[in-house]
């Protein structure tokens, strides 16, 4: 069972308290955007086998969103960070690099 750190509550909580919101750092599109951009925002996903950055919501807790970095193959978690970040913070990327030497960094 996944055990993720909620940066708002400042404590670990297990999967049953959380709800996953999918790929993080999507660029939100509005009605004026092109069909292609809107399609990318709504449907197209990286769906990486390896390190991903995703959104979680502490549903049965503070109710707030936060971000995590996780490996989809091993379910190893590399830490949580605020939902206000528009890209993964350096500290998280450094944590990932420490255990994955071949990690290429975050791709939009």
């Amino acid at each position: 069972m996944l055990n993720l750190f909620c940066p708002i509550c400042q404590r670990y909580c297990d999967e049953t308290e959380l709800s996953c919101g999918g790929q993080a750092h999507l660029i939100r599109r509005d009605h004026a955007s092109s069909d292609k951009d809107f399609y990318e925002y709504l449907y197209e996903r990286k769906n990486d086998k390896g390190i991903i950055f995703e959104r979680w919501r502490h549903v049965y807790g503070c109710g707030k969103w936060f971000h995590t970095a996780r490996c989809t193959l091993t379910n190893q978690v590399f830490g949580s960070y605020s939902a206000k970040e528009v890209q993964p913070p350096k500290s998280i990327l450094a944590t990932i690099r420490r255990s994955r030497v071949d990690f290429k960094g975050w791709v939009k």
């Binding site: 809107f38 996903r45 990286k46 769906n47 989809t72």
Partner: protein, 415 residues
């Protein structure tokens, strides 16, 4: 290929069964093929088979990363049904179900198709209404299903508890022609027949790159060397996004782990398939006597082929209430498979942004039932370089064009 028949069983019985051949030949890749199918599961093999059978193309390689039928084809709960809501889904799933009826004879391989009936329980008022709608849609499209009352459910499945209290059975959608088949046999049967047609089945060969020339596919790079091809089709279920990434595009797909489990074998207690969507569980009994139980998918992307323990607990907890008789059974095995979920829970059979590259994916939690129909439609698309009537509603364009084929009610959990 030596035919399997009564006389071959007799003949072999009198010579210590020494004359049986390997079902399919394991080959090393040649330098070039007309068509490469990436993925040696049911859908990939069926695609190769129907290309050979319906269109006389045999210059095909089926490339498999692991072993034949080791992915989702060998990890599902073997349910076959076609009681979907939308016309285009009914089209392809009903084609598939009807192909399953004669597949053993077609392939000369006993796939143990058992049309034992599929019962989809309605345990809330909303579900009852949704199922009634589905049954009307089925009738309009000529699929043989009907709504049955709780008392009739009890007659069909005597071990069921229809009185709740949490999940009373209010009715059910009954498809008597649905059922199960032996999943491994489906993969093996197709592989054997493909091999007989002269199609190369190459196992332990992973695609690690895609060769393109001016946005046209010219071949693939594999762990067994480069292979050239005029056309390539990705049929890799949960790993479709990984392959698409190699080819330079993204898919509207997310991969999650879906789990199943079997109980210890017991005497026959249930002779049909029961699916309970509200409580996230479904149940049938295998010929060995094990209860085959499937449940919900994980709520987050993963490729771990294990799945979360809490989902097993959820599934089993709910099923025990609906079938009190199974409460003392022990779990024998549990496993997971990586399923490729689309936003509308309908598959993708489509051309791609790369010329000559086709894709068949997005079957999500219910691909097994669709194997023959999906192979049929994909073969047609590859041969004509254009999707046919069965496949055309399922193109990738449907997402940007807003013509989704919403099957979330029919496919939310149970398949």
């Amino acid at each position: 290929m030596k035919r399997y028949s009564l006389s071959s069983i007799f003949t072999e019985a009198f010579r210590d069964n020494l004359g049986w051949e390997k079902a399919w030949t394991k080959r090393q890749p040649r330098k070039e093929y007309q068509i490469i199918i990436v993925g040696g599961g049911g859908h990939g093999l069926a695609t190769a088979y129907y290309l050979a059978k319906n269109f006389n193309i045999t210059d095909i390689a089926v490339i498999e990363k692991g072993w034949i039928g080791g992915g989702n084809t060998g990890r599902n709960t073997t349910i076959i049904r076609s009681n979907y809501l939308q016309e285009s889904s009914i089209g392809i799933y009903e084609k598939s179900r009807s192909l399953y009826e004669t597949l053993s004879q077609d392939l000369n391989y006993n796939i143990m198709f058992s049309p034992r009936g599929v019962l989809m329980l309605c345990q809330t008022e909303h579900e009852l209404r949704a199922m009634k709608r589905t049954s009307h849609a089925n009738r309009i499209n000529g699929v043989d299903t009907k709504m049955v009352a709780p008392e009739e459910v009890k007659e069909i499945v005597p071990i069921i508890n229809i009185n709740g209290p949490r999940f009373p059975v209010l009715g059910a959608l009954w498809q008597p022609r649905g059922g199960t088949a032996r999943h491994d046999a489906v993969a093996w049967g197709y592989a054997r027949k493909c091999s007989d047609f002269g199609i190369d089945i190459i196992e332990q060969c992973e695609v690690i790159g895609v060769k393109k020339k001016r946005e046209k596919i010219v071949g693939v790079e594999t762990t067994k060397g480069n292979i050239k091809a005029k056309k390539v089709c990705f049929v890799a279920a949960g790993h479709s996004s990984v392959l698409a990434d190699l080819a330079g595009f993204r898919l509207p797909i997310e991969s999650v782990a879906l789990q199943a489990l079997v109980s210890e074998p017991i005497k026959p207690i249930i002779d049909c398939v029961v699916m309970a969507n509200t409580v996230h569980g479904y149940l049938s009994q295998s010929d060995k006597g094990e209860l085959v139980i499937g449940g919900g998918a994980d709520g987050y992307n993963n490729y771990s082929q294990r799945g979360s323990f809490l989902h097993i607990e959820e599934t089993v907890r709910a099923l025990v209430e609906t079938f009190p008789v199974i409460s003392r059974l022990r779990q024998l095995r549990q496993w997971g498979g990586i399923v490729d979920m689309t936003g509308d829970r309908s598959p993708i059979i489509s051309k791609t942004p790369v010329d000559g590259l086709y894709i068949n994916c997005g079957w999500g939690t219910g691909g097994f039932k669709a194997i023959p129909g999906s192979g049929w439609a994909t073969a047609e698309m590859i041969y004509n370089e254009q999707p046919g009537k069965l496949a055309s509603p399922f193109s990738i364009d449907r997402f940007s064009e807003g013509r989704l084929i919403d099957e979330s009610a029919a496919a939310a959990v149970a398949h």
